[in-house]
Symmetry: C2
Subunit: 234 residues, 2 copies
């Protein structure tokens, strides 16, 4: 079995190059910003990691949005995760898109097709109201493109009640696997089906809020969801 | 906007209860092992977090498998991520299933429907060959149920070439959100469509390995993929 990603955690001197260097399966890696940005933009959520007391790591799923060279996360000021991140701690944001199961003839060569980005750096809180508003808009658009034109955007009070943190997309790398399984030559004649089972995150039929009294049509943000993310029949 | 999960990282005394206590949105939380196990078993991958040099956190996507009260990860001994984990460091394994976009009338109340599990603890390497074999089997079965009866299972040499680490499913909690959006009373009359756009990870048509010479039928592990994970038309 091949794990998804062999990261670069230990035994290397600190520094951007060493920390995001792609050691294992370098053919799967990329520092190409276009590749990195496309993955960050397509992945609906990310997982952010940071250290709590005693060095205990925490990994929390959250919504993100990229604006140029900056990645934004947000949450309640009452959230200890967000408060910790807002205090300016080292963090790692990883966004992963699962594209398929890779079924080899041997269990050892099983894998996944995936696209993943890891962003290392330090989170800082966003204080500037204009940047915060832009981040809100980006986050809403990240959830569903066009939604910021439909929903009521945050009031000043709601803005104050939300903590937004930022991390630069600088020390970042992408890693991806595509294509069929790679079996050992000695296994090629085994009578075992091998191939890829593609996986796709698709949108099903929208479910209107039961409390929706008005006869409102399903809006563009919902009708047009995807296409990069995929939709059934769309 | 509501973030997915407010974890419990800071300002609390160490200890299982404090670290996995569900502070924000406790109604979304659960310490029910049946709930935790179901999420771990359905999520095709997880994200594992651990600290590298200088306290820099790393979050790496990887395949996992649960056997009773133990969660297994695996990888190459050449992987620094796996080597770091195998050295017995504090880790956090988070597995998240995204169930839908929650589109409220206000941007502020947008959210996601999701199910997520966080397991805290210390990774230890699996040395016992029988446990390692059982872990291999569980990992292959986690990728695709039934696959361990189809693929060639690891040779002793392949087993030696794979590092398996374990973490107990003890200090664990689940967090989930379901149902329609929750708007503020003052927003209920806004002419904004609100509802849920369900998302599902589905399997598309299998793609046989181009180098597959034998006329082998698509096997049960592929035909029966899901159903908890969903398949188009299945």
């Amino acid at each position: 079995m091949t794990k998804l990603w062999n990261a670069t955690p230990a035994g290397e001197p600190p520094g951007p190059t060493a920390r995001t260097e792609l050691r294992r399966h370098p053919e799967r890696g990329s520092h190409d910003r276009a590749v990195i940005d496309a993955i960050l933009d397509e992945a609906p959520i990310c997982h952010v990691g940071f250290a709590g007391p005693g060095g205990q790591p925490y990994v929390v799923p959250t919504i993100h949005a990229r604006v140029g060279d900056v990645l934004y996360l947000h949450g309640s000021p009452a959230s200890r995760a967000l408060r910790t991140l807002g205090a300016g701690v080292p963090a790692c944001v990883t966004a992963t898109i699962l594209d398929g199961l890779v079924l080899a003839r041997s269990a050892f060569n099983h894998s996944m097709n995936y696209r993943s980005v890891m962003v290392l750096g330090t989170m800082t809180p966003v204080e500037d109201p204009a940047e915060k508003d832009a981040a809100f808009r980006a986050i809403v658009e990240h959830v569903a493109a066009g939604r910021s034109l439909e929903a009521r955007m945050p009031s000043p009070e709601e803005s104050r009640k939300t903590l937004v943190v930022r991390i630069p997309v600088e020390e970042a790398s992408a890693k991806l696997r595509t294509g069929p399984p790679k079996d050992d030559p000695k296994d090629m004649a085994l009578p075992v089906w091998a191939g890829v089972l593609p996986l796709r995150l698709v949108a099903l039929a929208p479910e209107p809020d039961p409390s929706l009294d008005l006869p409102l049509p399903v809006p563009p943000s919902v009708l047009g969801y995807g296409p990069a993310r995929g939709s059934v029949g769309g």
